[in-house]
Subunit: 199 residues, 2 copies
DNA sequence: TGTTGATTTCAACGCTAGATGAATTTCTCG
DNA sequence: CGAGAAATTCATCTAGCGTTGAAATCAACA
């Protein structure tokens, strides 16, 4: 048994404070404009401490995005049930996530995806492998049509998030999630299981 | 007639080169990551010259976005015709603009809209006052329903642009515009003139 | 108490950014 | 030509960034 002397790990509140501050600042400003100094300031901590705990800014970003949402648990839950209402349930799930406190992390990735190339790649891979591909198998779509159906679905959902949370165009910005779900769900439903025009 | 002595204005090539370079770099990198130095480099010009002609970076951005597209001429053209196919024509117009060389300027605003707050406001005001409001009157929508209809339309179109030109998710990224128009047009049409669920 | 090692701070490096003002070149006209 | 104004360049300022390494602080153990 290795008897370690010296100060025991103790105060890891600060590590958590930094993570919380990082999520908030990344969500508000996006990856590039969120400075380590600003995050440290929000956590009332010295900037160097951030590096001491997380190394680089990249790693901090990944660490702060890591915990929040697990689509492998949420998606099947939303997609299970009648195929005819999967679109509505999917939109509802997305809005519920984004409106929740955990949605800050998702918004951070979204905001960062335009200004920064590697966060865009991060988001693209996440969307494609964790969301779309999963939805495809869950709904047992025709493999030939699956890519186009999921990409079209992505257009409607991405646009919804863009207008509601980034551009904040009214009345979409402050509508209750339920009403928005009823309005947008059918379009998604159509992309998932409706007739496709000849391409 | 005022006869000014000294060197006549002459070489305005450089001013134009700077504008061209600015549009290209802004479109590729977005407002924040497009540096004056990079723009000057692309125009093969000293960075200070850019300031000499345009003052600040803000003004350069506005100047380079100024000429390209005039929605007051294009929109009526696209919206005129049967109401039942206005959605398809609108999507077709948008894709034609973005695929054209002039679309670089539009893409610049779009890319910049997430990373920078005042460019987002710029885009929001442009979209609301120049596009949506115009479309509303052109289609003579019910004033009570107009805001929600145009905002929903914005979600679908913004998402389409986001997935096709920013995230570049296949197959939407490289589909011919016509096929995409056929796939997405009906959704837009539904938002413009279809039945709205109770809100 | 004094050693130890984790926690936290301090000061600084190297870099890039937008912006400025003086200096220099280049052209046109009297 | 040479004066004068525009076009263009040069050196530089200030500010912020991520990052680093050494120093200081602190709590638990021997």
């Amino acid at each position: 048994m290795v008897r370690r002397t010296g100060r025991r790990p103790g105060n890891q509140d600060t590590r958590q404070s930094i993570l919380h501050a990082a999520r908030a600042v990344f969500a508000e400003r996006g990856y590039d404009k969120a400075s380590i100094r600003a995050i440290a300031g929000a956590a009332e901590v010295d900037p160097a401490l951030v590096h001491h705990y997380f190394g680089t800014k990249d790693k901090l970003f990944l660490a702060s995005m890591n915990m929040p949402i697990d689509p492998s648990k949420l998606l099947p839950e939303a997609l299970a049930g009648p195929r005819e209402s999967a679109g509505v349930r999917l939109v509802g799930l997305v809005l519920r996530i984004w409106d929740s406190p955990a949605g800050a992390a998702a918004l951070a990735v979204f905001r960062s995806a335009l200004s920064n190339e590697w966060t865009a790649r991060l988001m693209r891979e996440f969307v494609v492998t964790q969301v779309l591909r999963r939805a495809v198998t869950e709904l047992s779509l025709d493999p030939a049509e699956a890519p186009i159906r999921s990409a079209l679905t992505a257009t409607q959902i991405a646009g919804l998030l863009f207008v509601r949370y980034v551009l904040r165009i009214e009345p979409v910005a402050s509508m209750p999630a339920e009403a928005l779900t009823r309005a947008v769900g059918p379009s998604v439903q159509h992309y998932l299981t409706g007739d496709l025009p000849q391409l």
